[in-house]
Subunit: 260 residues, 2 copies
Amino acid sequence: MNILWVFAHPERRSLNGSLMTEGLRELERMGHESRVSDLYAMKWNPVVDAGDFDAPEAAESGRLLVGAEQERAHRESTLSEDIRAEQEKIRWADAIVFNFPMWWFGPPAILKGWFDRVLVQSFAFGLTDEHGQTRRYGDGGLAGKRALVVTSVGARESSFGPRGVHGSVDEVLFPLLHGTLWYTGVSVLPPFVVYGADRATEAGGADQADALRARLRELPTAETIPYRHENGGDYDDALVLRPHLAPERTGLGVHTREAP
Amino acid sequence: MNILWVFAHPERRSLNGSLMTEGLRELERMGHESRVSDLYAMKWNPVVDAGDFDAPEAAESGRLLVGAEQERAHRESTLSEDIRAEQEKIRWADAIVFNFPMWWFGPPAILKGWFDRVLVQSFAFGLTDEHGQTRRYGDGGLAGKRALVVTSVGARESSFGPRGVHGSVDEVLFPLLHGTLWYTGVSVLPPFVVYGADRATEAGGADQADALRARLRELPTAETIPYRHENGGDYDDALVLRPHLAPERTGLGVHTREAP
C-alpha cells in the first residue's frame, strides 16, 4: 500500500512526533511505501487567496469567487505548485494518516488550510457519475482511499465519551471525518486518540506507540465507520434522511448506519 | 456596547463582505462602538510556532511545549505583538461577531489560527474560581461576553437540518460554538447562516442584509444557546453528564439544557 502521512505539529520531539516516527517505522516493517507531508517543516501556507490561482484579472478587477477560481485553476493545471504537489501525493496514496494535536476541538490551522487549499472542486468533489448524480459522501474524487486520524487531547477519555462534557470524540471530529473525508469519498477508520496527553509519561508513550502499531497493522483491512452514502437511497431529494431510518432521531449519529 | 467584528474572507466584495458592510452600518446606527479585525487585510498569520513566544531556548534546545509556552509568554507579556493586539480588542469588546464562509464545515484556516494563537491558557481558559474549580464552559477568561457567528454555505437549508445529510448546522459548528466560545465563557447566540450562497442573487442579498440587521438589533438582549455550565452541577467528577439529565440520550444535543 502507498501511505501518505500528513503531520501538523511544530515540534517533532512531541508526543505526536514520536507517534509519527514509530508509525512510519511500522509501515516500513509491513512493506508499505510511505511519503510524509510534515506541514510545519514544509512551511506550508494554509491561507487560501488569489495567489493560489493564476487569476490576475479576477484579483484586480472582478470579484474573487474562491470556489470557481479553484476549479478553473485545477482544470487548467494552474493551481500553485505547492497545492499540485499535495494533490499528486494524494493521487499516489491508497491511505492517508492525519497526525495532529487537537486544538480547539479540531486540526491546527496549518492542517485546516491544507484541506481548504488542496481539496478543490473537480479534484476532490463536484464530480458526477454516469447518471449525472453528484458523487459525494462515500463517493467523490478520493473514492477508494482510506484515512486514519491520529490525534491527542489533554482531557481524560471520560470527558470525550458519549455523554462527556466535550462531546463524543467522533462527533466533535465529524466536520473532518464525515464532512471532509467521507464527503470526498474516503473511507474513514475510527480515530486513534491519545487522551491525557498533557500528563503523558514515557511508559505511557510506549503503550501508545504499541497501540498505534496495532492500528496501523489493520490499516488495509479494518472496518471503516459505516457512514451512509448520499446516493445509496437513504436520503430524499432534499438530502434529508428518510423517515423510516433512525426513526424519530436527530443528531449527527443518524448518519451512521446501524448494525444489522 | 463595544463590538469586535472578526472577518475572514479574501474578498471584501463577497456576500460575506457585504454582510459586514451592512452589519457595521447597523451597529453604528444603534450607537454601538465597533472595531474590525479583517484577517486577510491584516495578513494575519494563523500558524502557531516558536515565533509566538519569546522562547529562544525552548525553540533551540529543549522541546517546544506549545500550551506551556503560550501561558508563560502570556503571563510575562511576551506573546508576539499581533497576538497581544487581538487580545486587547477582545478585552475591550462586549460582543464579538465572527463572519466567515464555511469551508469544510468550519472556519477558514486564517480564522482557525486566530483561535489557536490568541486564546491562550491563562488568558481565555485555565483560570480557577475562589473554590479552586477550573472556570470552563460558561465561565472563563471571556465570561460576560456574547458572540454571534455570521456564516454562509453553498448548500440548501434542508441539508443542514436536524436530519440533513451534512448534519445540523449547530452540531457541525459545535467545536466553535461550544468547544471554543462557550468553553472560554462566551454566551453564544444561535448562528446566522446564509444558505445557498453559491446561488445568491442581489434581491436575495438584500433580504439577507435585512435579516442580519434584525439579528444585530437583538445582539445585546437575545437569548443565547442554553449550553450547560461545567460547574453548574450537571456533570459528575469525570465530567460526564449525570444520568437523570437527558436520560438514556447521547449526542451533542445533551449538552444543551432542555426547555423547562
